[in-house]
């Protein structure tokens, strides 16, 4: 009897394994195209980038130099300044994006579908528009002589300011542009997440006498945490990689006030052909992003209640 059961078990397991195997094969075959793309266009370039960072690589010269590129980065004042600028950009951008998108979505998600779609559309517009056209418009807004920003401030009696030309304001101006480009997606995500907060929880809290702020703080906010975590990490990574608006508005100036690591990577690689050095910069940036993302996961991840 025992033997028969064992035999049955075995044949069932074998059958499951066989079925599983077939299913897996099919599944992996379907995944394979994406895997090939992922390896070819993400994993390979990444590893190659790390490899190149140990070489003095310019056009057709390719010489192993060990850690020289990294050592020269530590001593490069412009790189350190760019790294600091990048951190300021991230620290300035991420909280503002979270606050604005939360504020906007909290205000629009209960409105009628038409109004909600209208606002979602308005705030999402910068995300779908070409960054180049948006930066050209911002260039005109900030223009020292003909810009609308100076016109508006002049109505209050302020002297015109060279917004992008003054190291005091240039980075702030970049953050402002970056915020408008970054809020679109978080608003969409928050509106969806707010819609998923069960009405009964909120009603129960209200019946128990919770004030609107308490309802938000203790019911809505914790339930939004998974979305918030995603938005924080995505916005952080995007802010670290900020390049096009810098390239188009200030070219890293004035006197490196808006230079970011990504801009430096571009300049060193494509203007000066120092591919090894710029790969080293890329690796350093990737490590910094990784460390910060891990910290964010540890810090906010604990609060996430799925």
């Amino acid at each position: 009897m025992e033997n028969i059961r064992k035999g049955n078990n075995l044949s069932v397991r074998r059958k499951i394994n066989k079925t599983n195997l077939r299913e897996w094969t099919t599944a992996y075959l379907f995944l394979a195209p994406m895997l090939v793309f992922f390896i070819g266009f993400v994993v390979y370039p990444m590893l190659k980038g790390i490899y190149i960072s140990f070489f003095d690589y310019s056009l057709r010269n390719f010489k192993f130099v060990g850690l020289d590129n990294y050592i020269s980065l530590i001593n490069d004042k412009i790189f350190i300044k760019s790294l600091l600028n990048t951190l300021i950009l991230v620290i300035g951008n991420v909280p503002v994006v979270i606050l604005i998108s939360l504020f906007v979505s909290a205000n629009i998600y209960k409105k009628s579908p038409v109004v909600r779609s209208l606002f979602r559309g308005i705030f999402y517009l910068p995300t779908v528009c070409s960054v180049v056209s948006i930066t050209v418009v911002w260039g005109w807004i900030y223009h020292p002589n003909f810009g609308i920003l100076n016109y508006l401030t002049s109505l209050f009696g302020f002297q015109p300011i060279g917004w992008l030309g003054d190291p005091k304001y240039a980075l702030g101006c970049m953050i402002a542009v970056l915020v408008t480009l970054s809020v679109g997606q978080p608003i969409i995500l928050y509106v969806a997440a707010l819609g998923n907060v069960p009405e009964s929880y909120l009603e129960a809290a209200e019946i128990d006498g919770a004030k609107p702020w308490q309802v938000f703080r203790h019911i809505t906010w914790p339930l939004l945490m998974p979305t918030t975590l995603y938005i924080i990490i995505i916005t952080t990574i995007n802010s670290f990689q900020c390049f096009s608006i810098i390239q188009l508005l200030t070219a890293g100036g004035p006197s490196y006030a808006t230079s970011t690591v990504m801009y430096m990577v571009y300049e060193r690689a494509f203007t000066l052909n120092k591919y090894g050095l710029s790969s080293a910069m890329g690796v350093v940036l990737a490590i910094v992003i990784m460390i910060i993302s891990i910290i964010q996961f540890k810090f906010f991840g604990d609060e996430v209640d799925y």
């Binding site: 394979a32 057709r60 010269n61 030309g165 004035p254 006197s255 494509f270």
Partner: protein
């Protein structure tokens, strides 16, 4: 069930296969296109070369004139197939660099010495000594010839040139009654800093609606040759030593000239905010009649800018002012020409050289080609391409070409140090002396860096 599985597997496999389909080189395509060349006798000898071109020619859409040239070239050399691919000035240089780094460079490029000689320094260009006949060498200024050389070998075949100067809106000055303050009646229109300053002051006073009489720009490296020439001509000491051994723009005289510029910015003779303006912003302001004088202009710009003018005003080229009449101006110039890439295929190199020689020297097309560039021939024997007075004047000023240094070691890196320093100086965070000393120190290091 089984059919379904087979079907699913087939779909999955075909998806993978379709991805790889795009990756392979389509060799069949190139063979058919090569054999379509109208040659029956020398099919084995047919060569296919690629010419990457910036929009250097002005008529029609970019690439039109290149096609015409290739068509006339193919009448003479039917078995050399030329693929013209257009690149733009903004992203083109990066594309070329990437192509060189990945061993897929074109065979031919029309560019300037700053880049071509730098490619040669990296060992990717073919030497062109055999194209430089004695008659060519005696016909072209040594300053231009030197710019095409690296270690005494020619790597660039020069075609056209245009000196960079200042330009004034003459119509505007006519209306304000200030034209007599321009050096139009002087020999070669040479003038001094004090005359220039007097004119700027008069413009500021007589035309108060202007944003400023003139403007400076330092946002990026674009157009930086204009501001360097402005400073070094007003100071009277050239940007670089004649033997190209060191930069000399921190000479006290040039420092004083830059101080003059800073003072003029503060007094409103030059527009404030130059640190955030790019050269094309300033040219646009000039064309939009917001300023009366543009500090960087040349014959090519004159031709390409006409459409952007708000009104059809008359413009005059004026050289950069010098400290006094005894100091002659020294212009920086645009020099255009061909470089041939050495892609380890002798036939392609030879074919590319034939195309260079054809474009430069073909009796039927050479002059038209020069006109298409909107500039002048590097050959002193070819003159009078244009009929208007300003072009003729411009052509006559090629004799004031200063030491050309765009081909020196580290030129591109030097440029990345220059404009941030100029920004600092315009912002007042560095004095002209400290800034220029700082720049020259870094720039001199680029001259010897390997």
């Amino acid at each position: 069930m089984k059919t379904k599985k087979v079907l699913v597997s087939l779909v999955a496999i075909s998806m993978i296969a379709s991805m790889f389909a795009g990756c392979g080189k389509s060799t069949t395509e190139s063979t058919t296109s090569t054999s379509s060349a109208p040659s029956s006798t020398a099919k084995a000898e047919s060569v296919e070369i690629t010419w990457w071109d910036y929009p250097n020619f002005q008529s029609g859409t970019a690439g039109d004139y290149e096609k015409q040239l290739v068509a006339s070239f193919n009448k003479k050399y039917p078995n050399i197939k030329v693929n013209v691919e257009m690149i733009d000035f903004a992203s083109g240089p990066q594309k070329v660099n990437t192509a060189i780094a990945s061993n897929s460079a074109p065979d031919l490029i029309f560019d300037y010495p700053g880049r071509i000689i730098d490619y040669a320094r990296n060992g990717v260009m073919a030497e062109l000594d055999d194209l430089f006949s004695d008659s060519l060498k005696s016909d072209v200024s040594t300053k231009i010839l030197d710019a095409c050389k690296l270690d005494n070998k020619y790597y660039m075949y020069p075609i056209n040139t245009a000196p960079n100067m200042m330009a004034f809106n003459k119509t505007m000055l006519d209306k304000a009654g200030l034209t007599n303050m321009l050096p139009l009646n002087k020999e070669d229109r040479l003038w001094t800093v004090s005359e220039f300053e007097a004119l700027l002051k008069a413009i500021k006073e007589k035309i108060p609606t202007l944003t400023a009489p003139t403007a400076i720009f330092a946002k990026s490296s674009a157009g930086d040759q204009g501001t360097r020439a402005w400073i070094s001509n007003m100071g009277g000491v050239s940007t670089i030593a004649p033997d190209l051994s060191k930069y000399t723009i921190n000479d006290p005289k040039d420092v004083a000239a830059l101080q003059w510029i800073v003072d003029s910015v503060n007094s409103g003779l030059i527009l404030k905010g130059g640190e955030a303006l790019a050269s094309n912003d300033v040219v646009d302001m000039y064309l939009g009649e917001k300023i009366a004088c543009v500090p960087l202009y040349n014959k090519t710009l004159l031709a390409s800018s006409a459409a952007k003018k708000t009104s059809n005003f008359e413009e005059v080229f004026i050289p950069y002012p010098t400290p006094d009449a005894s100091v002659k101006p020294q212009f920086e110039a645009y020099i255009g020409g061909f470089g041939v890439f050495n892609n380890n295929d002798v036939k392609k190199v030879e074919a590319a050289k034939k195309l260079v020689d054809f474009i430069a020297n073909d009796q039927d097309t050479a002059k038209e080609t020069l006109k298409q560039t909107g500039s002048f021939s590097v050959r002193s024997s070819i003159t009078g391409l244009y009929d208007d007075a300003e072009s003729k004047y411009c052509e006559s000023m090629i004799k004031y070409l200063g030491t050309y240094y765009n081909q020196v070691q580290g030129f591109a890196e030097m440029r990345t140090y220059y404009f941030p320093v100029l920004q600092n100086i315009l912002l007042g965070t560095q004095t002209p002396k400290a800034g220029l000393d700082d720049f020259v120190k870094k720039a001199n290091e680029t001259l010897v860096k390997k």
